[in-house]
């Protein structure tokens, strides 16, 4: 599967990321780094330790990087989680939202694993 096909599968806009990052070559080069990015694991770990500040930062980073790669769904769910975790406004719905993020993340990683 090509990267473009993968984006199509995810309902994400491939052209958008190509324009934003300045070329297909750069997208291809940085996608493995996106897959290897530790933010998701940091989020899970922080959540388990009830480190809400760490969880907030991790979700904030995720929101930024998935936005940069035009992965709209995952970006939207992380952004929502991020707002729930924002220091001072902790929302008990965050745990449920984390499950949404997990599902979106699995979908993206699953799609990317088929590239090749």
């Amino acid at each position: 599967m090509t990267i473009k096909e993968c984006y199509d599968l995810l309902g994400a806009d491939y052209n958008d990321v190509v324009i934003r990052l300045g070329g297909e070559e750069r997208v291809a080069r940085f996608l493995p780094k996106l897959v290897a990015d530790p933010s998701f694991n940091t989020l899970i770990e922080a959540f388990a330790n009830q480190d809400w500040e760490g969880a907030f930062r991790a979700s904030h980073t995720m929101k930024g990087i998935y936005a940069n790669f035009s992965l709209t769904e995952l970006q939207a769910s992380s952004a929502l989680l991020c707002e729930m975790l924002r220091p001072g406004v902790y929302n008990p719905d965050a745990a449920a939202q984390l499950e949404v993020v997990k599902a979106d993340y699995a979908k993206v990683m699953n799609a990317f694993s088929k590239i090749g």
């Binding site: 324009i19 750069r26 990015d37 980073t61 930024g64 990087i65 940069n68």
Partner: protein
């Protein structure tokens, strides 16, 4: 890509390695990149490499120390004034954006960022900052040039007038201050005299040269305590024409406004509005306005200062004497101006002198102070600087029996130490000694001999000269150095100094 290249270093501060590497990839082909993974690392890096970093790209949400704290630190240590910061954040809340801008961020880029936009904004910011830096350098340079100009003139003044004239060194500064105040008061009333505002500092500097002609007056008369005889007074009166002659003979810059004003002031600062002054008996506004102003300043300061022939009058007494016409008639308009500035005059003059008593500062500081404090004119500042230098110089010059001399090519003035003066007809100064034939005809001394040798035997490549020569039956060790300005296409000699010391050897043993 105008002049933007690898010599600009960008510090990328972001806790996400992925973000840093994407930003680095976008910018690395044109800029040198450094990375920091949190605020603390960034601050440490900036402290060690302040001058190297041209721009910071800053994430806001980071562990250990966040982006706002980095901005706060950069405010505390003033880095924010010199290093532009572009904030990149997914945090779009207005309060964050506002806070970042208030803390001095130059620009704010929201995630998701567009690579082309990041590149462009970084480039534009760096170009703006480097343009501003170049402009700052240019202005600093121009202020430096201006103060150099003042230095040149004030050094002529101090050499020529104050060396021989028992006046206090505050005299010229006071004249400067009063002239400036009168001039500003006049300009706020009328512009009938066609004086551009930009000429105010020039006229003030030129006022320092009002008594330059006193070089031509014998010291015995200048410093005579008690009343002068009518003959002696006639001799004193020649100083205005003599001053005009000297300024007219300045080989360079004759058309400069500074020299033009100085000429008017030197020649006509003893004219009076009713035509009863000297040397030309000009009346009314036939007397150039700069000279009219300086004549009031001169009279006021002379009255309120102690001189070898009189005690100081009080501020109020001096004003009364001027009002009553005891010092001659002045332009009624200028009298109004004097009344306007009178209340502040006494206090202001005292403050100016206090200002000049502060320690010497370097020229950069002067430039900075002028930027931040428009009330201090740079000419006053440089006057102060020169005052200190001149004092030091004068001290050594007056307390040595050695034959020292210095020639300043900018002013064409050759001056001698006290020890040399007896060799040169008792004078301590000669104007334009390099005129053809001047050295041969006017004075024949070891100074002339040394000057001639140094001039002919040094060059911009070999600036130093040493020898032993015979003069008038004795052997002198002579040494000299020429100083060159290498800025232009051809090196130009700017000054020359040297000394001659009589050795134990006699002419006979030398041969």
């Amino acid at each position: 890509m105008n002049n933007i290249g690898d010599n600009y270093k960008i510090l990328i501060v972001d806790d996400s390695e992925l973000n840093r590497s994407i930003l680095s990839d976008i910018l690395a082909d044109r800029f040198e990149i450094a990375e920091a993974c949190d605020g603390l690392e960034a601050v440490n890096y900036l402290e060690k490499h302040t001058t190297e970093v041209s721009l910071v790209i800053l994430d806001l949400i980071m562990p250990v120390m966040d982006g706002m704290s980095v901005l706060e630190v950069m405010n505390k240590n003033n880095m924010i004034q010199n290093i532009p910061v572009i904030v990149i954040s997914a945090d779009q809340r207005a309060e964050s954006v506002e806070r970042a801008y208030k803390l001095g961020a130059t620009d704010f880029i929201f995630r998701p960022f567009d690579s082309y936009m990041v590149y462009r904004r970084v480039q534009n910011t760096i170009m703006l900052y480097s343009k501003q830096k170049r402009l700052e350098e240019l202005v600093t340079h121009q202020i430096y040039e201006r103060s150099k100009n003042s230095r040149m003139l004030v050094s002529v003044l101090s050499h020529i007038v104050e060396f021989r004239n028992g006046e206090s060194s505050a005299h010229c500064l006071n004249i400067n201050t009063i002239t400036e105040k009168l001039l500003n008061a006049l300009l706020s009333r009328t512009n009938n005299y066609n004086i551009p505002r930009a000429d105010v500092p020039i006229i003030c500097t030129a006022s320092s040269l009002h008594d330059i002609g006193k070089i031509a007056i014998p010291e015995a008369i200048l410093n005579k305590p008690g009343k002068l005889t009518p003959e002696e007074f006639e001799i004193i009166k020649t100083h205005s024409l003599e001053g005009a002659k000297i300024l007219n003979a300045v080989p360079f810059s004759k058309d400069e406004p500074l020299i033009r004003y100085a000429y008017e002031i030197a020649r006509w600062h003893h004219e009076r509005f009713d035509g009863r002054g000297y040397p030309d008996g000009l009346a009314g506004d036939r007397i150039p306005i700069a000279a009219q102003i300086v004549s009031i300043a001169d009279v006021y300061d002379a009255l309120t200062s102690e001189r070898c022939y009189k005690a100081a009058y009080s501020h109020e007494q001096a004003l009364d004497m001027i009002r009553n016409g005891e010092c001659g008639q002045f332009n009624p308009l200028l009298m109004d101006c004097l009344e306007e500035i009178a209340p502040s005059l006494k206090e202001e003059l005292g403050r100016d002198i206090a200002l000049f008593e502060q320690s010497t500062r370097d020229l950069n500081t002067i430039a900075n102070e002028v930027f931040s404090n428009p009330d201090l004119s740079s000419s006053n500042r440089s006057l102060h600087l020169l005052e200190t230098e001149r004092d030091k110089f004068k001290f050594f010059w007056e307390n040595t029996n050695e034959v020292f001399f210095e020639y300043n090519a900018e002013t064409s003035v050759l001056s001698f130490s006290k020890g040399a003066a007896y060799l040169v007809d008792g004078g301590s100064m000669v104007v334009d000694p390099l005129k053809p034939g001047f050295l041969d005809d006017r004075f024949n001394s070891i100074v002339a001999l040394t000057l001639d040798k140094v001039l002919t035997l040094t060059s911009y490549e070999y600036t130093d000269f040493k020898d032993e020569v015979e003069w008038s039956g004795a052997i002198y060790r002579i040494e000299g150095r020429t100083v060159w300005d290498y800025e232009g296409e051809e090196p130009v000699m700017t000054s020359l100094y040297g000394y001659a010391r009589r050795t134990e050897k006699t002419g006979a043993t030398f041969q």
